[in-house]
């Protein structure tokens, strides 16, 4: 009994070590938005919490598989282990505590972070989703394009999203954010760009429809570029628009992504 | 010593005669009649429980889609009339069940007949409501109204159909105080359909902003 517990404990610690090494690899795409950073923190926290839990189950499972196996039919019964009612109680409390932690952080705290409304809005982009393309409008710059989504870096952005036919979903993997486009209502996504980049360097820099919308759902995508403010002005000017950001005071609209 | 559960035959009861295949597959027939009736009754209630989830879903859908309002053009008098008739039909159905329990086949037939008539009037009333409605199926309230009354009416019509079937069998004297489960089941179903309307009627006719 003691020997079994000892070996499993050692195995558990070893597996935790392995898990922590694996957790060190960065698997998320390079992040270009402030809320993406919040998502990243949530991800990392959850991974760290998952490692000991998974390591424990795998340790017990592996050890039992190797140590308790019998060649052929077991000749006798195992120990019945009656009268250990404290074990499920302790387990219940532990798992309860663990899920309470997950609920509070990154859960509830994270919701507040990623649903937060921008204090100011530097640039408004209207995204019109229709089978199977995106229409990108910059109302303040008076620019409309079907070719790419360009955003200035370090600015507070608000997407105003509408769908004209079926459900679509706005997802820029490099922003780590997503919100559906629903016919009949306008939905919003607010965040701040934090880093320049383009689709050519990083395929996660694309606006991808993430909600099944029919035949060409897979290719309903646009390249995304986050550029310096001057470069953005230049791009606007090239398209015949009116360069310059016009920080509009956010009207009384719900932040993050929400309805009506 | 390994315990497998196979060592001792503790049972002392004599072996049961192995039935022929056809009989064995009628397991229900081997149990006491009272137990069979009890199981049937519980199962019927569980079926209602299940159905109430469907009607509850429709009700929730109505409030989600069309809010807590009703269309001003609804014929309130007609609504109240058919609701009263449906409620009345529950009373007559109950009388029919009581009558057959006491072996009064003639009374049962009469009450069943009344129930069928009331049920049919209700169905016709709903049809009239549909035909004269001032709102269309293309708007939120109309969507909820036609869908809910339609699905409820389908239950009413199936109930009337079963009542007619039972009516014929009662007239032939197939049921008595010791065997009236089909009557009871049909009447209970009828009560259930009635209760559903008790929820649908206020939701569709009475609630306001």
């Amino acid at each position: 009994m003691k020997r079994d517990l000892g070996i499993v404990s050692v195995l558990w610690l070893v597996l935790i070590g392995v898990g922590l090494v694996l957790a060190g690899f960065d698997v998320l795409p390079e992040t270009h938005s402030d809320k993406g950073a919040d998502v990243r923190h949530a991800w990392e926290t959850l991974v760290l919490m998952a490692v000991p839990v998974m390591a424990f189950v795998i340790a017990v499972l592996t050890y039992s598989f190797l140590a308790y196996r019998r060649r052929g039919e077991p000749a006798e019964d195992g120990p019945p282990h009656t009268g250990r009612n404290w074990v499920p109680k302790v387990w219940f409390v532990l798992t309860g505590a663990l899920s309470a932690v997950v609920i509070v952080y990154p859960g509830l705290v994270g919701i507040d972070a990623v649903m937060k409304k921008n204090d100011t809005t530097d640039i408004v982009v209207k995204l019109q989703a229709t089978k199977w393309r995106w229409i990108v409008q910059y109302p303040d710059q008076n620019v409309t394009t079907l070719k790419e989504l360009v955003l200035p870096v370090d600015k507070h952005v608000r997407f105003e999203i509408q769908a004209s036919d079926v459900l679509h979903s706005v997802w820029v993997p490099a922003f780590l954010l997503k919100v559906d486009a629903v016919p009949g209502k306008t939905t919003y996504l607010e965040f701040k760009t934090t880093k320049t980049g383009s689709f050519e360097d990083n395929e996660a820099m694309r606006l991808q429809c993430a909600e099944l919308c029919g035949r060409d759902h897979a290719t309903m995508q646009l390249p995304v570029r986050v550029v310096a403010a001057t470069e953005f002005d230049q791009w606007v000017a090239d398209l015949g628009g009116e360069p310059g950001l016009k920080p509009s005071v956010a009207k009384s609209k719900p932040g993050g992504h929400s309805g009506h | 010593m390994v315990t497998t559960g196979n060592e001792a035959a503790l049972r002392t009861a004599p072996p049961r005669q192995a039935p022929a295949y056809g009989e064995a597959v009628h397991a229900g027939h081997q149990m006491p009649k009272s137990k069979r009736a009890h199981i049937n009754r519980v199962a019927l209630w569980m079926f209602f429980f299940s159905e109430s989830f469907m009607f509850g879903g429709l009700l929730a859908g109505k409030f989600y889609l069309a809010g807590a309002g009703h269309d001003a053009h609804l014929d309130q008098f007609l609504g109240l009339l058919i609701t009263s008739i449906l409620l009345l039909s529950s009373v007559t159905a109950y009388q029919a069940e009581t009558a057959i329990k006491h072996g009064k086949t003639g009374q049962c037939v009469a009450w069943l007949f009344l129930t069928i008539v009331f049920g049919a009037i209700f169905a016709v009333g709903v049809g009239f409501e549909w035909a004269t409605a001032h709102f269309s199926v293309h708007e939120p309230f109309g969507t909820a109204f036609f869908a809910m009354t339609g699905i409820h009416a389908a239950h009413v019509i199936s109930g009337v159909f079963m009542l007619v079937l039972i009516y014929r069998l009662v007239r032939r004297g197939r049921f008595g105080p010791d065997h009236y489960w089909p009557v009871e089941a049909t009447v209970k179903y009828w009560h259930f359909v009635d209760v559903v309307w008790v929820f649908f009627y206020p939701a569709l006719y009475l609630t306001t902003w």
Partner: protein, 630 residues
């Protein structure tokens, strides 16, 4: 003794017809014919009604609905419900199904026959939908799509998803639920044998409708059928709706039957604390099937009404609310995953206890956990809608309830680990599958936390991370248990032993193939590959090739399985009544059991898992020894 069983099955057919093959074929043909008549009648009735009410004379989809409404009872009554049930309503004597092999193709009331019907049907459907998975993986070998057009891909993907969900719903519960539940409880059949047969014979129309959708262009909405896409696409969608509503009806009736069987059909002495855990899991599962399935039907009825009657549940231009569908749909479809895994947990806990020769650890806690899951399952649905732009006030409550589900699930892990701890592990194929299931479900559960947690879900929703996650829970969690159950109960059901070596090959190929397919699949999801796409960005090609190749190995792992099952049926070693020396009641009768299950009504005198407990009473006396005198 085996001869006696064969005798009971074969010759003592009572009033069964003589040429049973022809009889069954004739009944099937009659079912099809009556269905055709019903269909024509429904179409004609609708045309008359439409003419009277002043509509255009003809509407394709409405006609299909009306026709199907009458075709379905036509099929059921024609194929045997009239002979075996309906005649009784009109005072005639019922006719029974044939008693030899023809009964597997007939409206037979025997729960063992129905269990086998379910098992064969759903293993076949599993392999069928598995082929579609192979096509999907072939397509994704190339970022531009290797073989299919986008439209074809959507149909293939939707077919794979839908059929696999059907397999997940009824594959375990329908087959082992029907076969094993009455045996474990010591009953001679289900509470409602005829209703049970009806539940099964509702399944063939489902398969026919889904197949019929393919020549109509299929449906491109996946198994979730989100409107407005599903209210505006081709007629294949209508076939899907009708099929799934029918399937739901079958599910509800089965659920009702399981609950009544569990409560009322238990043998003498089978007190609540002596009921085997698999039966408990079915009981908890059955409530979900009974209650929540109705909402699935409601959601698809709404879609159908939008299509054929012009209502505007989801048509935004007329004030409809597309999000309403998601609420109603997930209100069923999240609990549905517990329809999948609860019986799966039951099977693996059962096997872990019997084959480690130890009592099931924390038995009462496990039963409590089943009901905890059952209770929580109804209040977590909106975690599928974190990015759907539903009311923001709903986010936090649903995050909390969702995370709470990990507590009862954790108890099931405790029971699994506590049971094998210091046991005497008999590593036969079912045991391997059970241990593999625990490992797989661990990964499925832990990755679920990332999806239950809104901040990470907002990135991962609708990506291959989700695809990998639910394959871990459904395939890893349930299908592994399905195979564990197949190997575990194969000797009981067929009276023959499966081939151990082939079974081991199957397990290791499947276990490794599965894990090496789906572990890598998390990666493209995190990196930005969304799900349900026929083409993807070229950067992710290498990982997709790895996934595809591993998936082909996973697919190949079923070849030894199929061969094993078929060959062992004829050439397998004759199985003893109780090859695993297990205590539960299904092993205390012959393999296969006689028609009436137990020649002597069993008397239950002890707990089902008291292995090694000093002085424990036997769970129940073996019924065959009293009957056959050995």
């Amino acid at each position: 003794m085996t001869d006696a069983v064969a005798h009971a099955h074969g010759a003592a057919g009572g009033d069964g017809p003589a040429y049973t093959g022809w009889y069954a074929a004739g009944r099937m043909a009659r079912g099809v014919a009556w269905a055709a008549v019903g269909f024509a009648l429904g179409v004609a009735l609708l045309a008359v009604v439409r003419n009277i009410t002043g509509h255009d004379g003809w509407s394709k989809e409405a006609s299909i609905c009306a026709g199907y409404l009458l075709a379905l009872p036509g099929w059921l009554f024609g194929m045997g419900m009239w002979d075996g049930w309906g005649r009784e309503w009109f005072g005639h004597k019922v006719k029974h199904a044939p008693s030899d092999w023809g009964r597997y193709f007939s409206f037979c009331h025997d729960h063992k026959v129905i269990g086998i019907q379910y098992l064969a049907t759903f293993v076949f459907l599993f392999l069928f939908a598995g082929l579609f998975a192979m096509v999907i993986r072939w397509q994704l070998l190339s970022p531009n799509g290797a073989i299919l057009t986008n439209a074809q891909y959507n149909s293939v993907m939707s077919m794979h998803g839908t059929v696999m969900i059907a397999v997940a719903v009824a594959g375990v519960a329908g087959s082992f639920g029907n076969y094993i539940l009455p045996l474990q409880l010591g009953a001679d059949d289900m509470a409602f044998p005829r209703l049970n047969a009806m539940s099964f014979w509702l399944i063939p129309p489902v398969a026919v409708l889904l197949l019929a959708a393919l020549p109509m262009g299929g449906w491109d909405t996946g198994w979730t059928a989100y409107p407005p896409l599903s209210t505006t696409n081709g007629t294949g969608q209508l076939m899907f709706n009708l099929a799934i509503i029918t399937f739901g009806l079958s599910s509800i009736l089965s659920g009702l039957n399981f609950i009544c069987t569990f409560i009322f059909m238990r043998a003498e002495g089978m007190t609540w604390s002596r009921i085997p855990v698999f039966s408990w899991s079915l009981f908890a599962m059955a409530w979900i099937a009974l209650l929540f399935t109705q909402l699935f039907a409601v959601s698809l009825i709404m879609v159908t009404l939008d299509r054929v009657a012009g209502t505007s549940w989801f048509n935004a231009t007329h004030g409809g609310q597309p999000l309403l569908y998601q609420h109603v749909f997930w209100f069923y479809s999240h609990p549905a995953v517990y329809i999948f895994v609860l019986p799966a947990f039951g099977i693996i806990l059962e096997i872990l206890s019997h084959l480690s020769r130890k009592p099931l650890f924390a038995y009462k806690w496990v039963v409590g956990a089943f009901f905890g899951i059952l209770g929580l399952s109804g209040i977590v649905w909106a975690h599928h809608m974190f990015t759907s732009t539903m009311d923001a006030r709903l986010l936090k409550p649903f995050l909390i309830t969702t995370e709470l589900i990990s507590i009862p699930t954790g108890l099931i892990f405790l029971a699994a680990l506590g049971t094998i701890w210091q046991g005497k592990l008999w590593l036969r194929v079912p045991m391997l599958f059970a241990l593999g299931e625990v490992f797989n479900f661990l990964i499925g559960g832990v990755t679920g936390i990332f999806l239950a947690d809104l901040p990470t879900d907002i990135h991962l929703q609708d990506t291959y991370f989700v695809v990998a996650h639910f394959h871990y829970t459904i395939v890893g969690g349930e299908i592994f248990a399905l195979f564990a159950g197949i190997y575990f109960w194969y000797p009981k059901i067929t009276g023959r032993m499966y081939n151990e070596r082939l079974g081991q090959w199957h397990f290791w190929l499947m276990f490794l193939g599965f894990n090496f397919t789906f572990i890598p699949m998390f990666w493209p999801g995190i990196q930005g590959m969304n799900r349900r796409i026929a083409e993807y960005t070229p950067d992710l090609q290498n990982i997709n090739i790895v996934v595809s190749v591993m998936a082909f190995i996973l697919g190949a792992s079923f070849l030894p399985f199929v061969w094993n099952m078929l060959a062992s049926l004829f050439r397998g070693e004759r199985a003893q009544a109780n090859p695993w020396r297990a205590r539960t009641l299904e092993w205390q009768t012959t393999s296969p059991p006689p028609v009436e299950n137990f020649p002597v009504p069993p008397l239950v005198t002890g707990g089902p898992y008291d292995y090694g407990v000093p002085g424990a009473a036997v769970h129940a006396a073996p019924a065959y020894s009293a009957a056959a005198g050995d």
